[in-house]
Amino acid sequence: MKKLWSWFLNSQEMSLLLVFIILCVITGILNPVFFTFRNLIVVSRSFSLFLIIAVLMNFVIILREIDLSVGSVVALSGTVCGLSLVSGLSIPLSIIIGISTGTLMGFINGFLITRFSIHSFVVTLAMLYAARGAVYVIGMGRPIYPFPKSFAILGEGKFLGIPILVFIALAWVIVGNFFLAKTTYGRAVYAVGGNSETATRAGLNVKKIKQWSFLLNGLSAGISGVLLVSRLSVAQPSMGTGWELQIIAAVVIGGTSLLGGEGTILGTLIGVMFISILNNIMILIRINVYWQNIVVGLILILATILDTVRRRKQLPE
């Protein structure tokens, strides 16, 4: 029994999955609406938008860095895309411009962090403010609409009854996992995150790895921002507010350590499922909105404690 328990504790993905299933079952009992197809479709959309960013946030956190700017970058990318659409640019072009905006913000983050050796917390916090400010400047604080009807297909459309967003997100997960687990880049991410001095001595280009990771995180925020705007059919200046914390929480709950060097895409996937379901559950059982934040905070602490316990067990004798 003790052996089973220890395997259980040590396989973070399995234990997380189990908690997740228990959570779903409890919710289903408390409010059967949870299991309706319609509800799950709604959940799956926000889940997909989070997941696209979470995959890359996973890389960033494994690198022992952080990116607080993703919510604002989502908004900025979506706003730029929206503005392009209402000024008459074609849908493909507007999408590209939107995604490029996110990528550029990510590049700026990475550049400032590596070139001037500023802590990522500071740089991305600054970007959080600056990008949000830019949203209000260029959008003049107003919602942006209307968009051509066909633009909504990405965000609202379904294929075989499942939202297209889900397919996009899952494709992104598969690609992300491939990069992390099977390429030299992914290997370098783990090495740099675990011990950047070791990585440097092995000849790895630590700066390049970090620059690319922040750029790709910005890219993912850009994609998510464009898809969000497609789903909402309007670009609101308040879009994406608070996303960074939810996404970071999801990644940490999924087993990625804030101290770097550990983490899997599968864990991130489960972590995002967890956060999405949690948000949904609290709405369905009508928990007060303010209590919802307390719950998320508690769970985040629990996940971190579990990670610390697991790390302590791993230390060599």
Binding site: T184, N195, E197, G261
Partner: protein, 248 residues
């Protein structure tokens, strides 16, 4: 006249007000093991970190086979075949043995990586197994995470990483420091094997008995200066100690 393979000329290094190295010359001749000795803070590790690209000298030049080398990073050094077994091993604890052995060279072609290349993990594992076997030092599970290995096993992984692609020069910084006494002689045998396989070795050590067992010449540093290089056959351990501590 036999020309040296590696030359370091006029190497100085200061960290702010601290002069760690002052105008140091080093020559590494073909087919030799060069012992590098000196008291603590004599500058041995600093000199080697310059050769392996971790530090950039404040002045001085490095030559390989007569050609000037531009070593600005460990990448540059590894590229020309200078490998290092660091005193603190510099292993990635969170990765397994195979990943550590091929860290930076996962393409298995000997050259350093470009990023975003796919890894052939199966081939890497096979090659890692063969390298560990050839060393004949310890048995290892090459899929284990390095943090779960003993000190001696970690040492083996660090050595394996350095020799995985037949380096030209191997710098070993106190390789026997954390080893059980029974294992020390095996490492020394290994160094002799390296010499036979035409890998030049610079061996930093504290225990002069080891140095005299395997080194052809011994170079002595004291307070950042090169006090002299002597053939181990032409000098006694006592004289070396005197030179290290500055008694004459």
């Amino acid at each position: 006249m036999i020309k040296p393979i590696i030359e370091m000329r006029g190497i100085s290094k200061n960290f702010g007000a601290i002069q760690a190295l002052e105008n140091v010359d080093l020559e590494l001749m073909p087919h030799e093991v060069l012992g590098l000795v000196g008291d603590n803070a004599a500058g041995k590790t600093t000199l080697m970190k310059i050769l392996c690209g971790r530090y950039i000298p404040s002045s001085g030049r490095i030559y390989m086979e007569g050609k000037k080398l531009d070593i600005f990073s460990p990448f540059d050094a590894r590229k020309v075949g200078i490998e290092t077994v660091y005193q603190d091993l510099a292993l990635a604890d969170n990765l397994d043995v195979t990943a550590n052995i091929f860290l930076g060279k996962e393409s298995l072609r000997g050259g350093l990586n470009q990023y975003f290349k796919v890894m052939d993990v199966k081939r890497m594992r096979e090659k890692a197994r063969r390298i560990i076997e050839k060393l004949e030092l310890e048995e290892l599970d090459i899929t284990r995470k390095v943090r779960n290995l003993s000190g001696g096993q970690r040492q083996v992984v660090a050595i394996a990483r350095a020799i995985s692609f037949n380096p030209k020069v191997l710098i070993m910084d106190e390789p026997t420091a954390s080893l059980a006494i029974s294992k020390v002689s095996r490492v020394l045998e290994l160094v002799k094997r390296f010499r036979k396989e035409n890998i030049l070795v610079i061996y930093i050590g504290h225990r002069l008995q080891e140095i005299f067992q395997i080194a052809d010449r011994v170079m002595i540093l004291r307070r950042g200066k090169n006090i002299g290089t002597y053939k181990t056959s032409e000098i006694s351990m006592d004289e070396v100690i005197k030179l290290i501590i500055g008694e004459h």
